[in-house]
Structure formats: structure tokens, C-alpha cells
């Protein structure tokens, strides 16, 4: 039994009612970047990137440090704005959204996993996970119930009352993944998800991401780790100096339509 057995991010009444954008289908590009440039002063982080990610795909973005991987991820997550070009996610032009709408976009459509987990130290694992749903207005009881289910499916239900400081790195990243999945996101973004983990914990997280991909979760993973990319992704994009220099499609099968 895999860690995500029983977890299928199926549409519910909650995630069907969205304030913006179209519901994603396999016929729709979940992510579409058109000639995106990002400059920080004299430094060009992204230099005319054009990219599409279809629903159910798992795309790994690789490249050396400073090549623009994280910048691209930030654009897709609505954490940063491009200097020029358009970023469309789920049909929504993020450049047209103000800060509040971007926050709502992230809340409902995006799940993020960070290298350093970014859990709140003062909250136990359960409340860290439930937090994402509570921000949408879900009451504490239902949010905790769903958080418990997720932690159970990710194999760390017995650690739900532990605080981040007492969890291992792998456990912390599982909690972070659970939090990212809490609102049934259309797109899961992972920024070096195994970068701060030892090999054993890294393996567990890779298994987890693979499982998620196999049940149709659209994934975009930024990583240095070739093993992670080849194991979890269906496509690998390589960046250098802010440009896409190479694109590889791997033999992998996604589950159509499950990612919506």
C-alpha cells in the first residue's frame, strides 16, 4: 500500500466554487508561460521563457544555481511578477490579479512545498496542516478531520500532535506536503523538496511525489536532483542563464482528468 492510497483529489463542492479561472482539464494547459522575462536590476533571472504544463503532467525543472529555476516557480505561484511576458495558470493571467486575488489564487489553486518545510513552530503538525483549510474559512473541526486523514494517508498520523522541532526532516516534509494538499490544489509546486533531507527521507518524499503524480496530480518540481527528476517527472526542462536549454520527455503515464 502506498502512502497516498485512498487519496484522490477529486472535485468537491468546495473546490468547484472558485472565484476566478476555469476548471482545469487535460485539454487545458494548467500553466502557460509566454516569453517571460524577469530582471533584478542589471541581472536577468529569466530571459524569454515560454513553457506549457498540461494537467496531470509532472514536470521537473533543473539547472545550475542561479539559472532561474526558483524565479520561474515564483512566477507560476504568483509570488513574484514578471518584468515582461505573461504567466497564465488555470487560464488566469496572473499579471491581472492584485495581491488579494493572488492570495486567493494560491489558496485555492496552488499547493507549495519548500526545501526548508516552512512549518509554524508554535503549532503541532495537525494544526499546521489544518491551517491551509482554515484560511479559506473552513471551521476547525472539519479542517482537523481532513488534516488527520491526510496525515494518515501520508503515514504520519501518529505524529499529528508533535511540534515541528520534534519531527525528523522527512516527517516535516510530509507535514508540508499534507498542508500543500489540504485545499486539493490543481497544481503542486515543489522547490527542492528533497534538498534538505538525508537520502532515506529523500527517498520517502520521492515516493510520495511519485504516488501523487500517478493519481493525476499536476506537479512542477524544481530540483538539482537528477534522481528525483527522472523518478517523479514525465518531462524534464533544463534551464541555463534564464533560458530553457533542453527539454526531455520521460516514459511515464499520468492519470487523465484526475487533477482537476
Amino acid at each position: 500500500m502506498t502512502a497516498t492510497q485512498g487519496y484522490i483529489p477529486r472535485p468537491t463542492s468546495r473546490n468547484r466554487v472558485r472565484p476566478y479561472g476555469a476548471v482545469m482539464t487535460t485539454d487545458t494547459d494548467v500553466v502557460h508561460l509566454t516569453d517571460v522575462r524577469k530582471e533584478y536590476g542589471d541581472t536577468t533571472a529569466l530571459n524569454g521563457v515560454t513553457l506549457s504544463v498540461r494537467a496531470g503532467e509532472a514536470v521537473a525543472v533543473m539547472g545550475p544555481s542561479g539559472c532561474g529555476k526558483s524565479t520561474m516557480l515564483n512566477m507560476i505561484a504568483g509570488l513574484d511578477r514578471p518584468t515582461s511576458g505573461t504567466v497564465r495558470v488555470g487560464g488566469e493571467d496572473l499579471g491581472r490579479l492584485n495581491e488579494t486575488k493572488l492570495a486567493l489564487f494560491r489558496r485555492h489553486r496552488i499547493g507549495m512545498i519548500f526545501q526548508f518545510f516552512n512549518l509554524l513552530d508554535d503549532l503541532p503538525a495537525l494544526d499546521n496542516v489544518a491551517l491551509a483549510a482554515q484560511l479559506t474559512g473552513t471551521k476547525a473541526g472539519p479542517a482537523r478531520r481532513r488534516a488527520t486523514e491526510l496525515l494518515d494517508e501520508l503515514g504520519i498520523a501518529d505524529r499529528r500532535n508533535a511540534f515541528p522541532a520534534t519531527l525528523s526532516g522527512g516527517e516535516r516534509q510530509r507535514v508540508a506536503v499534507a498542508r500543500a494538499l489540504m485545499n486539493r490544489p490543481a497544481l503542486l509546486l515543489a522547490d527542492e523538496p528533497t534538498g534538505a533531507l538525508d537520502s532515506s527521507a529523500g527517498e520517502q518524499v520521492m515516493d510520495l511525489l511519485l504516488d501523487l503524480h500517478q493519481i493525476g496530480q499536476t506537479l512542477l518540481i524544481v530540483t538539482h536532483d537528477e534522481r528525483l527528476a527522472t523518478r517523479c517527472a514525465s518531462r524534464v526542462i533544463e534551464l541555463a542563464d534564464g533560458r530553457i536549454t533542453r527539454e526531455r520527455t520521460l516514459e511515464r503515464t499520468s492519470v487523465s482528468g484526475a487533477g482537476a
Binding site: M112, L123, T136, A165
Partner: protein, 788 residues
């Protein structure tokens, strides 16, 4: 440039907001400290300070000019540290001009060449010193700020003098000064010597012993009279004593707030820099160098803040002092002292260094790895049960997260609560104080009517307090006392009229005569009852109520009997009640008019010996009534007494409002700093929360909620402390003023006021938190998370 200095400069530049906050907090706190200390110092020994500055005489000696020569007086200097004189002295009768309604009687005029000298340096606050015959400088306290009418001439014993200046002697050495040459023409019979003694002068006996030593070699009976400085000191101490509890309270509050805020801000700055400390250590900085970097980092803005704060505090304290002591003649003696400057310039930076030193020493002991990880490694959760409970509440998550923020830094939260508590305490105390003083003014106004009518005696016109006297020839009313009362009752809008005559009457068993206020008319229903502090109101002509000052002075009690005796007639009055103070002027016992007629049955009272108090109907117009009185009889001066507030009320409300605002601002700065530190420390958390969909509005709500909780707690604790302070300080001030106050004056804490004050803590917290909360909402997620 050394590495330490380079690193310090870089730290200052990199932390611009923090540097600004430290500088601003230290500036405001230093300002508060300087004002607080100045008030405390002023309240501790105002007379001594002013007396020292004026080099007041320890003894004023008046010699018989025919019994001793100037040379003999100049030679008699046993135990004398400094002396001035001999100055010719004449006693002249005032006949016209001068201060309105100046008490009739003789004036002591002294011949002096200048206002300075080794002893009794006069405060020449207006005009110049007399330099020619016919010129005079009159003695008065400085009323320059309140429209005091300065007259041009005065007639003394039939001779007109041109008033060229106004001066004040703390020791009251004269009522006026002329040139020595002018004095010669007055043929003085006495000469004045002013002595400052070396050695102990703390008691009257000690001063008398010093004076005896001086006069030992002089002819017998040469000394006509002498007065030790302690007489003036006791008089002024009684006048100023009423201010002291207020001054001391605000001074102490200011000091505590400043210390708490500075400690919190500076220690927080160092704690928040632990990661940087670790990096410096890893670069090879020694622990001592690291501590130095951090001390320099906080000291640079602190020193700038302390210098600016000391200057601002001195500038701010001066008007408060001048206002507070105006009218008491101490302006010249009250200045921001050198040691207060010293505390501002040296003490506050030292406090800053100490506050920084404690956490810096902790940083000194931490290993580089520990220090670096202090900013990034997960830490043990704090207040975990409460956090879990909050997470389960049916509140918006941004609100419940905000409520949990104070729990993660309990020490910092405690400091912030204390800051808000002190701010709310000050606001509460000042509000209660202002309300109580307003109630006193209202009670007094109601009791003595809105219009005071004083018939002119045909020699001078009457001016109310702060009023310029009416112009034109003085007219004398042709009406009798009864006709004046009848006129006043007949004018439109008059509701109640009381006629009052005040005079002193010998009392059986009392060493000094008692001042008696004989009332006629509606006085019983005008509002004096509201001034009752003990007992009940008079129910018959054989009863009296007595102002509290007189009760204390004569050691009287409710139930005692005062027997007035005049011309062989007696009237026994039982004291049935005590009132706050009665009509303005010298306090006197209340007596029914029939007591006067029984003691002086044949006495015909002239109108100008009376005062008439008029209370108007609620719809009445005071100005219109006063105009009607003057129009009906030009010999009657009608004064609008409504909405008049005493100097004391203006002064106390003025400085309590100023200091409340200042302390509330400092408390808000404390909150501001706490939020800035919290936001900096929680940047990663904020970035994460925004990344999972927390909107900017939710971020602001979370940050504001975190401080609202602090504000509520500080407010709820601060209100009772402020109420207690009011309950203690008001009676203490009343005691110092030798009066009792009615309970109604103390009952200021009504629900609406308490509710408003309950919000004071939240308002202070919100004001402090709003700016950094908006900053937190604008944090760039990518930048924050990338940096982490």
C-alpha cells in the same frame, strides 16, 4: 578602519528601520525622562531652588534709622555670608491706581539702586528699574501671560508715581521700590538689612540665633522687626503643595515608562540579531568584538536620540514649569537643571548600553553554530496548549493566529503589556483628574452663581479675575443694599439672588477673630449644599457650616460650637456641616443674615460692602444679564463668573494632558517596536502564510489582533491602577491644599468613561501596530522565502 567599526556601521545601515526605531524610542523616552525628572525635582524643593537662585535673605531685619547708623550696620557682620542694605524704608498709604481691588492699607516702599546685588536678586519681569524721582517699581508676581492689567501710575500718601516696572521678591522684601534719592525725600524712619547667613539656618531658632549674633554689637532697641525666610517658605509651600502630588505622579510614571520601553527595544534588537552574531563569529570575530559591534549598533542611534531627546525635553519642560509655577512667583527659580541634562545625555545611553549588554553577553556565550541556528532552526513551540486551543476556536484563522503571537515571546509580550499598562494608567489618571477638577469647578460655579455683582465705592472700578477693569469714571451707586438686591431680582432671567457680607468677628475661645460670611436671600438653594463634605446643611440661624480649610486651621469638628461676640452681644452657632471652600476669597463660616443683625442691630450696610451672587434661569444669558445690570445702574459692576476655571485647573489639566499624550505615544512606540521585531522574526512564517493564501488584509488582521490582545490586557490592568492613583492622589492634593472634597468629585468613574478607557489600551496598541502590520502585509514572499 577597524573591522569592528566597519561591521557596526554595516549593521546600522542594514537595519535602518530598527536604527530609526531605537533612535525614536530613545528620543521620546529621554524627552519623557527629562520632563519627568524636572517635574520631580521642581516638586521636591521648589522654594529652595528659587530661593537659592534669587539669593533670598535668611532674615529681613528692619532697624530704627534714628538708633543706628549705616556704618554700624555695615560693620555688623558676625556669621553673615552676604548682606544687602541698608535700604531706606517708608510706609506709605495707597490711595489710587495700582492693582485692581488692591487691599487698602499701608505699603512698604524700599529705596534700592538696582534689583540685583549679593542678596535678594529681584525678578524684574516687566519694564525697567526706577532711575529717577517719581518712578516706582511695584512688587507683584508675573501675570504677564494672562492679561493682567498693568497700570501706569499709582498714588501713595498723596504723591503720584509713574510705574516703570514690575518685580517679584520671593521673600516679599517690599511692596514697591524707588530710587535711594527718592527715598531720602520720603524721610525714612527705618532701614532694611537683608542677611544671608553661613551655617545652619534650618529652624526659626537657628535663624534667630544668627540674627542675635549680628545685632549683638549694635545699640539696644536698634532692631525694630525681623522675619526669618521660613515664614515665606511655609506660605509658598502651602500654595504650591497642591501641585506636588500631580507633578510627582506624572514624573514617576514618565520614568518607569521610559525605562521599560528602552529596555524592551534595545534588548529586542540584540536578540533579533543573534543570527548575525553567529555569522560574525564564524568570520573570526572574537566574542568581545561581537559584543562591541552590537553595543555600537544600538549606541549610535541611542546617543543621537538621547541628545535630541534631552534638548526636546528641556524645551518641553520649560513651558510646563512656567505654566505650573506661574503666579507663585517661582518662575525664576525653576529651570531644567544640569544634572537632569546629565541624566538625559549620559544616563539614558548608559541605560541603553546596559539593556543591550545583558542579551549581548548571552550572545557572547553562544557558539557560532548556535547563534546562526537561532534564527532559522525550528524552535520549541511556546504556549502550545493555548495555541492548540486557539486553533480550535470558531474565529477567523488570521485572528486566532494573531492571538497566539504574544505567547511565542512571553518576555517581550510582558514588557509590551507593561508599556501599554502604564500608558493606560496615565490616560486613566489624567482623565479622572480632569473630570474631578471640572466637577469642582461646576460645583463652585453652581454654588456662587454665574454673575457676581459688586457695587463700586466710587473710587475704583472692579475687574473680575483676568479682566481689564472697566473704563470710565468710577460711579457710585445711589441705591441701598436692599434696593440693589431688589434690582437684581427684578431683572429678566434672574432665578436666585444671594447677598453676602464678609467680615471678621471675635469668637469666644479663639485666639484670632473668625471670618464670617453673612448670607441673605437664596443662598441655601444655590448649590453650596453640593459642596458639603461632612454633616448636613444649616436648618436654622443658630447653625453654621464651615469650609474645610477653616475647620483644619482652627481644629474644628462637626458638632462644635462657635460663639461670636461683638459689642457685648453673642451668637452661638453649632457647626452642622463642612463644605469644600465656599465663596471665593478668604474662607469664612456661613451664617444667616439674622446673625449679623443680632450682633450689629444698628449697623447700616453700604452696598459696596456687599457682594451679590446671581443664578440665572437655565435659559438665561449671562452676558445679557450682566449688561442689563450695568445699564440699570452704572455703579454696579457685574462680572460673568460662568465658565471660569481656576489657573490651577488650567495648569493641571494642561500638563496632565501633555504628559498623557507623551506617555501614550511612548507606549505606542513600544508596541511599534514589538511588532517590528515580531514581524522580522516571523518573516519566514509570514511568507509561508502568504504562500498558502493568506491575503494582505488577513496579514494585517493577524498582526493587529496580536497587539489588540496586548492592548486589552494592558488596558484592563491599567484602568484599575489609574483609578487607584486617582483615588489616592486627589485626596492627597486636597490635603496639601488644606481642603476636603465632596465625594461627588471623586465619583467620576461612570460606565461610559470606563468603556472609553478600556479602548485606550487597544487604541495605543493599534496605533503602534498599524504601520508595521501594513509592512508585514507588503512583504515580498519570494524574497522572504528565498532569503530563508
Amino acid at each position: 578602519m577597524s573591522a569592528v567599526w566597519r561591521a557596526s556601521r554595516a549593521a546600522v545601515r542594514r537595519r535602518r528601520v530598527q536604527t530609526f526605531v531605537i533612535g525614536l524610542v530613545v528620543l521620546m523616552s529621554t524627552m519623557t525622562v527629562v520632563i519627568g525628572l524636572t517635574l520631580l525635582e521642581a516638586s521636591s524643593a521648589p522654594f529652595d531652588r528659587a530661593f537659592a537662585q534669587q539669593r533670598g535673605p535668611h532674615a529681613i531685619a528692619v532697624y530704627d534709622a534714628s538708633a543706628v547708623t549705616g556704618a554700624q550696620l555695615a560693620a555688623a557682620k558676625t556669621g553673615v555670608a552676604a548682606s544687602a542694605g541698608p535700604f531706606g524704608t517708608a510706609t506709605l498709604e495707597w490711595t489710587a491706581g495700582g492693582e485692581p481691588r488692591r487691599a487698602d492699607g499701608p505699603m512698604t516702599i524700599v529705596g534700592r539702586a538696582d534689583p540685583n546685588g549679593p542678596v535678594d536678586r529681584l525678578n524684574l519681569w516687566r519694564g525697567r528699574w526706577a532711575s529717577a524721582p517719581g518712578e516706582i517699581v511695584l512688587a507683584s508676581q508675573d501675570h504677564s501671560g494672562d492679561g493682567f492689567p498693568v497700570v501706569d501710575s499709582i498714588t501713595l500718601s498723596g504723591v503720584a508715581y509713574r510705574v516703570v516696572g514690575w518685580a517679584y521678591s520671593l521673600s516679599g522684601t517690599a511692596d514697591g521700590w524707588v530710587t535711594p534719592a527718592q527715598m531720602e525725600t520720603l524721610r525714612p524712619t527705618s532701614v532694611q538689612m537683608l542677611y544671608r547667613f553661613a551655617g545652619d539656618v534650618s529652624t526659626r531658632a537657628a535663624v534667630q540665633a544668627r540674627l542675635d549674633a549680628v545685632t549683638a554689637g549694635l545699640p539696644a532697641n536698634a532692631l525694630s522687626a525681623a522675619e526669618p525666610y521660613l515664614v515665606a517658605k511655609e506660605q509658598i509651600a502651602a500654595d504650591i503643595g497642591v501641585f506636588l502630588p500631580f507633578l510627582a505622579t506624572f514624573g514617576v510614571l514618565a520614568l518607569i515608562v521610559a525605562v521599560v520601553i528602552v529596555g524592551n527595544v534595545v534588548s529586542g534588537a540584540v536578540v533579533s540579531g543573534l543570527r548575525q552574531i553567529g555569522i560574525l563569529k564564524s568570520l573570526g570575530f572574537t566574542p568581545r568584538q561581537v559584543v562591541t559591534v552590537y553595543l555600537v549598533m544600538v549606541s549610535v542611534p541611542a546617543v543621537v536620540g538621547a541628545v535630541l531627546g534631552t534638548v526636546a525635553g528641556s524645551l518641553g519642560a520649560q513651558p510646563l514649569l512656567e505654566e505650573g509655577f506661574e503666579g507663585l512667583g517661582l518662575e525664576a527659580g525653576i529651570r531644567v537643571s544640569l544634572w537632569t541634562w546629565g541624566v538625559g545625555l549620559l544616563g539614558v545611553p548608559a541605560l541603553v548600553a546596559l539593556a543591550a549588554f545583558v542579551p549581548a553577553v548571552r550572545a557572547h556565550r553562544l557558539s557560532a553554530a548556535e547563534a546562526i541556528s537561532a534564527g532559522s532552526a525550528p524552535r520549541r513551540g511556546r504556549g502550545t496548549r493555548a495555541q492548540r486551543w486557539l486553533a480550535g476556536l470558531r474565529l477567523p484563522r488570521s485572528v486566532s493566529l494573531g492571538l497566539g503571537v504574544p505567547l511565542s515571546r512571553p518576555g517581550r509580550t510582558a514588557f509590551t503589556v507593561v508599556a501599554v499598562l502604564l500608558g493606560v494608567t496615565t490616560v486613566t489618571f489624567a482623565s479622572g483628574l480632569a473630570d474631578s477638577l471640572e466637577r469642582i469647578a461646576t460645583v463652585q460655579e453652581k454654588a456662587s452663581g454665574q454673575v457676581l455683582v459688586i457695587p463700586s465705592d466710587g473710587k475704583s472700578r472692579i475687574a473680575g479675575p483676568r479682566d481689564v477693569p472697566p473704563t470710565g469714571e468710577p460711579a457710585k451707586t445711589t441705591r441701598t443694599d436692599a434696593e440693589v438686591e431688589q434690582l437684581l431680582r427684578g431683572l429678566p432671567d434672574a432665578a436666585r439672588v444671594s447677598a453676602v457680607r464678609g467680615t471678621t468677628v471675635p469668637a469666644v475661645g479663639q485666639t484670632e477673630p473668625v471670618r464670617v460670611l453673612y448670607f441673605r436671600g437664596d443662598f441655601a438653594s444655590m448649590g453650596y449644599r453640593d459642596e458639603l463634605t461632612a454633616g448636613r446643611w444649616m436648618s436654622g440661624p443658630d447653625e453654621t457650616v464651615v469650609p474645610s480649610e477653616l475647620m483644619k486651621e482652627r481644629r474644628l469638628a462637626v458638632g462644635d460650637t462657635i460663639t461670636l461676640e461683638l459689642g457685648g452681644r453673642r451668637a452661638a452657632l453649632t457647626i452642622v456641616g463642612e463644605v469644600m471652600d465656599g465663596p471665593s476669597g478668604q474662607p469664612g463660616i456661613f451664617a444667616d443674615w439674622s446673625v449679623f443683625t443680632s450682633l450689629e442691630p444698628d449697623r447700616v450696610v453700604a452696598p459696596h460692602e456687599m457682594e451679590y451672587q446671581v443664578q440665572l434661569k437655565p435659559t438665561g444669558n449671562v452676558a445679557a444679564y450682566a449688561d442689563a445690570v450695568r445699564a440699570a445702574d452704572p455703579g454696579l459692576d457685574a462680572l460673568d463668573m460662568s465658565e471660569r476655571r481656576s489657573d490651577f485647573q488650567y495648569i493641571v489639566v494642561g500638563f496632565s494632558s501633555t504628559l498623557s499624550l507623551l506617555l501614550a505615544a511612548v507606549a505606542a512606540l513600544g508596541v511599534f517596536n514589538t511588532v517590528v521585531l515580531n514581524v522580522r522574526e516571523r518573516r519566514r512564517d509570514l511568507g509561508m502564510l502568504k504562500s498558502i493564501g493568506m491575503t494582505p488584509r488577513q496579514v494585517v488582521a493577524m498582526v493587529l489582533t496580536s497587539m489588540a490582545a496586548v492592548g486589552v490586557v494592558g488596558g484592563l490592568l491599567g484602568i484599575p491602577v489609574g483609578v487607584l492613583a486617582h483615588g489616592y492622589i486627589m485626596p492627597a492634593a486636597a490635603d496639601a491644599a488644606q481642603v476636603s472634597i465632596p465625594q461627588s468629585v471623586m465619583d467620576v468613574w461612570q460606565a461610559p468613561m470606563l468603556l472609553a478607557l478600556a479602548f485606550a489600551g487597544v487604541v495605543i496598541a493599534m496605533l503602534g501596530a498599524l504601520l508595521p502590520a501594513r509592512g508585514a502585509a507588503r512583504l515580498r514572499i519570494a524574497e522572504v522565502l528565498h532569503n530563508e
